[in-house]
């Protein structure tokens, strides 16, 4: 588990960002120097439609305290409808894992466009705040923390 200087727990959040909108939005937050919490680890994917629900489960297993998948707004998908396809899967997945008993808020989804640097930062702030409230992930977690670049596996 990661602790900050003050010995407080720092959540680790995996964010799958689509290359065309959300990743660009994240870059824009950077060029605009909009500050947000440093808890997110971004994984760039071509499209939110590329995110297999299994990958989200693997993140939780790996010990991610939160998972965010962000794509283009409906209608804006660079690949026409990848985000629409993703939306259905995510709707089902989110309900399923919350039904299982995983806390609401561990896994979140957002639409952030290339022009929404501010929104990206807001989303990260919201997700981080929520995950902080929830505390360290425990459910479905198999590997807690990889110290110094190594750890047990999945």
């Amino acid at each position: 588990m990661k602790m900050n200087q003050e010995g407080e727990w720092e959540p680790k959040i995996v964010a799958f960002l689509c290359n065309w909108c959300s990743y660009a939005g994240a870059d824009l937050a950077g060029t605009s120097r909009i500050q947000y919490p440093p808890n997110v680890r971004v994984i760039r994917v071509p499209c939110s439609g590329r995110v297999d629900p299994l990958l989200i489960l693997k993140c939780l297993q790996r010990g991610a305290d939160g998972v965010l998948v962000s794509g283009c707004h409906p209608g804006d998908c660079h690949y026409i409808a990848g985000n629409y396809l993703a939306r259905r899967k995510f709707a089902m997945l989110k309900r399923l894992i919350e039904y299982l008993g995983v806390e609401e808020g561990r896994v979140q989804f957002s639409w952030v466009s290339a022009a929404e640097g501010e929104k990206f930062a807001d989303v990260i702030k919201t997700v981080t705040r929520r995950v902080r409230e929830l505390g360290p992930a425990r459910k479905l977690v198999k590997v807690r923390e990889m110290q110094g670049g190594a750890g047990a596996s999945l």
Binding site: W20, G30, R33, V42, P46, G49, D52, L55, Y79, G149
Partner: protein
């Protein structure tokens, strides 16, 4: 097509056509022109006066309105120019003579002595370290720092070679002794060479106005009065203060900073009547960036009119005000004096109601205007081209990139003050014009890029090299880069790690290649900025070293780390390590991917037959490619049909007729009037589209390699000021039509109403308000144009222009001044209190009946100068109606899979450097569909879109991306789910084998199929489950 039937060309070429172009000037414009030409089959010579290319943009810290790091977005182009096989950069040189005719010029180029052999110099910098001279003026830092006699302008310089400044050199010989490359040449001498080229593009850029001439601002006398260029260097991470906002006198962080606008612009006294077009924005940007670098700073901008007329500019200003607290004061600063004890400055100005105010500032930044380069006059003489009265190259509204001499083109600020995207647009446009001229010689002088064979990595485990970028202090100022490098060395498979000041610089590219060989690297990881801009550069670098493009991974430790966690350096460093670990884990699994060649259909589909579409169509055809030009209306011309004259007085309708005549005479152009595009399928190089008559009918199917979107825009139908209710309230374009067709006779009409000859023009109707928070850009010039026309017809006419800011940018300003001189009254109204147009009740009103003009019209406006309301009786009220995006944009955008911006205009790939491209390859953009713009800007953009399109059309085949889905037959159950999810119809089911098959040429690499396949039979190469999971596991 042969040369002979190009009878309609403006620049006829002689019998011989040389497939080479000379580009004079290596700034962003010159680079863009050079790259477009070199990428469409022409040899380019780039002559640059300075020792390195890069121009003014290299000196900038950030660019508006996206706040992109200037160097970051430019450096890929810089590097590409530097290493392009068909661009020869000739630095330290000038053009001294020109002979010949279009298509076959001989140019004389004189190269000054550099005293360093650029081919031998490695840029290592040992000479500069040892040079005993240290006090030479560093021009790159605008003189804010000093440098040795042997120097290089900036770390990313191309060519990366030092220069000895013999004026300050003491000739001690230390450098010669220390240089291990043996590059020092004390005996170097100037040389002259002759180049044979078919066309010339001038891209000399501008020079900043020297405010030393203006005694009232104390520049040169007061140390804390600096120019905006100097301040840009102060802000720059690579500048004299490493990005810290310090003032020159004492190195203190200034609290109050004043920006004085229009220094050397809009000022008859210094001879520069024109507006420099960019200062309002750059000052706002500098204020915002200063505030970011030093949050305690309180910037104030003293301005006359806020000229934030470009795409996204007004919202930038809004953010500067509301989020950064930048204070804007509308005034002209009269005088600056110094407080000797503190070197603080007292700024005196009149506020809007005429009170004299004085205010003390810690630092004053003079927003200096843009002047033509001093060398322009000499060059013009040498080349025999005309300059205008201010020294800019003279061009016509319809020929914005053509100088007075055929075969010689111009782009960028040399043609008139302009910002980067306008420059880039013109540069592409000039390149297109040159390419059209020389189309028959395409490919005659170029060399093909050959890569070394890819290394055979079979059986070799991953050996990863990690390169961590400081990005000046952009990363290094927050993230502990040495710690990240140390950490990277401990990661599995990492055999080498190092850090670079700028990993993107050309010398680092060479270094990466050396390290690949030295350490036998098989994968490269760069931790720097965003892969969205820089991945191609690094991919090219490793490919040149024999590694497949795709054996590369990036960790975005700047845009998504150091820049967004500026106040948490430890956590940012932790995150950077994590990101590097993830990238290394991904890199270890990467496999070489093949870029499939896709053949190109050599024709273009141009949607929209207005000025942009027609101009682009002619260009593409002149470059020798077929064009399908689709126009929704029954006739060509679009918006232009309703424009009659230009600000400069040109006859628009005559030009329109000429254009249509040329289109008709061009056998390669097929016009589809009264038609729309109903379907677009395919991809760059291989589109297949359907064109159908409006309202239905027989569809035509065309194949084409590119698409140019030139669908224009609409005019806002005003919903207030009695428009549509009272016939005396009309729009500017209606007024223009009345004027041009003689239906309105100034004076006579006034007499008929008996109420005087009064016209009230109201600006910003539908622009800069409500959801349309953008400026329509052309309305101010239109108002000035029509006002002048009215005044010319009837000097006694009373004309009032009610405005919020007059935005007659560039040389349009001169006409604004003329209008004022002619007696047109300009009244500024406050944003929150627009004028009111009302009928004045008269005896006739009762009998009047609905819709009939009754009584007189009255316009009531709050005059901000007087501070009180004024009522103006008006014979006619003329509304500057906004330019609004077409409703059909959304449908077309979805058909083309390209985005729209917030306002509904098409959104280009990059606001600064890819102004006519879309992110979707093979689709380009021109004209009002992009944003409001003037005729000359539209023409330039259309030239540019055509030029960019021809970079595709001139290829025999395109190398497609290697990111494709692939089916593992053994795992496939043949369920067909992938077929259903694929939006590109790239997958079909083989019923015999019961497996899915993917057409790689149609596959876009989105991965929807891979994420849907339950059997795990589909792999998206480059984003495999294993690769993504490796990243997940490495969090």
């Amino acid at each position: 097509m042969t040369l002979d039937n190009r009878d309609n060309m403006d620049n006829d070429v002689g019998a011989k056509s040389v497939g080479a172009v000379l580009v004079v000037g290596g700034g962003i414009g010159g680079m863009q022109a050079a790259l477009d030409l070199a990428n469409s089959g022409f040899k380019v010579y780039m002559v640059e006066a300075k020792p390195a290319i890069g121009g003014a943009m290299a000196q900038l810290d950030k660019t508006f309105p996206t706040n992109d790091c200037s160097m970051c977005i430019m450096s890929p182009k810089l590097v590409e120019c530097g290493r392009h096989l068909n661009i020869e950069v000739i630095p330290n040189s000038e053009v001294t003579g020109l002979d010949g005719s279009p298509g076959d010029f001989t140019v004389t180029v004189k190269t000054r002595a550099r005293y360093i052999d650029p081919h031998r110099c490695t840029g290592c910098g040992l000479c500069a370290e040892h040079c005993p001279v240290s006090a030479a003026r560093d021009a790159f830092n605008a003189g804010l720092s000093s440098r040795p006699s042997v120097y290089i302008d900036y770390p990313q310089a191309v060519p990366l070679a030092y220069t000895i400044d013999r004026e300050t050199c003491i000739g001690c010989g230390l450098c010669e002794n220390i240089c291990m490359a043996g590059a020092v040449r004390y005996d170097d001498a100037a040389s002259t060479r002759e180049l044979n080229v078919g066309a010339i593009i001038l891209a000399l850029g501008f020079e900043p106005y020297d405010p030393g001439q203006m005694a009232e601002y104390g520049y040169g006398r007061y140390p804390n009065v600096v120019t905006s260029v100097e301040f840009e260097r102060i802000l720059s991470a690579s500048g004299p203060f490493e990005g810290r906002v310090l003032r020159p006198s004492d190195g203190d962080i200034p609290r109050k900073i004043a920006f004085i606008q229009c220094v050397g612009s809009r000022d008859r006294s210094c001879g520069n009547e024109y507006c420099s077009s960019v200062c309002c924005m750059y000052a706002s940007k500098e204020a915002v960036i200063a505030k970011e670098h030093a949050p305690g700073v309180e910037p104030t901008i003293f301005y006359m009119d806020m000229r934030s007329y470009g795409k996204g500019f007004d919202s930038y200003i809004e953010r500067a005000k509301s989020e950064y607290g930048v204070r804007y004061i509308r005034t002209r600063v009269a005088d600056i004096s110094e407080v000797p004890e503190t070197n603080n400055l007292i700024v005196s100005y009149e506020d809007e109601v005429g009170r004299v105010v004085t205010e003390e500032f810690d630092l004053v930044v003079l927003s200096v205007g843009l002047e033509p380069p001093k060398s322009a006059a000499g060059l013009a003489r040498a080349l025999g081209i005309e300059l205008d009265e201010y020294g800019f190259a003279r061009t016509g509204t319809f020929d914005p990139v053509e100088t007075s001499r055929p075969g010689v083109f111009v782009c960028g600020a040399m043609q008139g003050p302009k910002d980067i995207p306008e420059t880039v647009t013109q540069a592409s446009g000039a390149a297109g014009a040159a390419a059209a001229l020389l189309a028959s010689a395409r490919g005659s002088l170029v060399r093909e890029k050959t890569y070394p064979p890819e290394k055979d990595l079979r059986g070799k485990g991953p050996r990863i090299g990690v390169f961590v970028c400081h990005c000046g202090i952009n990363i290094g100022g927050v993230v502990d880069v040495p710690a990240v490098v140390e950490y990277a060395r401990t990661l599995p498979h990492v055999v080498y790690a190092e850090r670079n000041l700028y990993t993107c610089s050309q010398d680092t590219q060479k270094r990466i290649q050396e390290k690949i060989q030295e350490h036998g690297l098989t994968r490269v990881v760069v931790a720097s900025c965003t892969p969205r801009t820089h991945e191609p550069l690094f991919q090219e670098t490793i490919r040149e070293a024999g590694l497949n493009h795709y054996l590369f991974a990036m960790a975005n430790i700047r845009d998504q780390c150091s820049w967004v966690h500026m106040h948490e350096p430890e956590l940012a460093t932790e995150k950077a390590k994590d990101l590097v670990r993830m990238a290394v884990a991904r890199a270890a699994l990467l496999e070489p991917l093949e870029r499939l060649p896709i053949p190109v259909k050599h024709s273009a589909l141009i949607i929209g037959g207005g000025l942009a579409g027609m101009t682009a169509a002619l260009d593409v055809a002149r470059q020798g490619f077929e064009v399908h030009l689709v126009e929704r209306e029954g006739e060509l011309g679009g918006h232009l049909n309703r424009i009659y004259f230009t600000l400069k007085g040109e006859d628009v309708q005559e030009r329109l007729r000429d254009l249509i005549r040329r289109i008709d005479g061009e056998p390669l152009i097929h016009v589809y009037p009264g038609c729309v595009v109903t379907e677009i399928a395919g991809y760059v190089g291989n589109f297949k589209s359907k064109i159908a008559p409006v309202g239905g009918g027989i569809e035509a199917e065309v194949e084409h390699g590119v698409v140019i979107v030139a669908t224009g825009a609409g005019e806002f139908k005003p919903d207030k000021y009695l428009y549509g209710e009272d016939p005396r309230v009309i729009t500017q374009s209606e007024l223009e039509e009345l004027l041009a067709t003689g239906k309105i006779q100034p004076g006579s009409r006034a007499a008929s109403t008996g109420t005087g000859r009064t016209f009230v023009m109201i600006q910003c109707v539908g622009s800069r308000e409500g959801e349309r928070n953008y400026c329509s850009r052309i309305c101010c010039s239109e108002a000035v144009k029509n006002a002048l026309r009215l005044k010319a017809a009837d000097p006694e006419a009373n004309i009032y222009v009610l405005y919020r800011d007059i935005r007659t940018y560039g040389e349009r300003e001169v006409y604004f001044q003329r209008a004022r001189a002619a007696g047109v009254v300009f009244i500024r109204y406050p944003e929150d209190e627009p004028p009111v147009v009302e009928p004045v009740a008269g005896p006739e009103v009762e009998q009047g009946g609905k819709g009939k003009p009754v009584g007189e019209l009255r316009v009531v406006v709050r005059d901000t100068l007087l501070g009180s309301k004024v009522a103006i009786p008006a014979d006619m009220v003329v509304l500057a109606a906004a330019i609004v995006p077409n409703d059909s944009n959304r449908e077309l955008a979805q058909m083309l899979k390209v985005p729209l911006d917030d306002n509904g205009f098409f959104l280009e790939a990059h606001m600064k450097l890819r102004p006519v491209d879309f992110a979707t390859e093979g689709v380009f953009l021109a004209g009002l569909a992009h944003a409001p713009k003037s005729i000359d800007e539209t023409v330039a953009q259309a030239h540019a879109a055509a030029a960019r399109a021809c970079t595709v059309l001139s290829l025999e085949e395109i190398r497609s991306d290697g990111i494709k889905s692939e089916v593992n037959k053994a795992r496939c159950s043949g369920c067909g789910m992938c077929v259903d999810v694929c939006q590109y119809k790239a997958i079909e089911l083989d019923f015999k084998e019961r497996v899915a098959k993917i057409n790689a040429a149609l596959c876009k690499g989105c991965g929807a199929c891979a994420a849907t396949c339950r059997c795990g039979a589909i792999t998206l190469k480059g984003f495999t489950d294993e690769e993504i999971l490796a990243e997940v596991n490495a969090i």
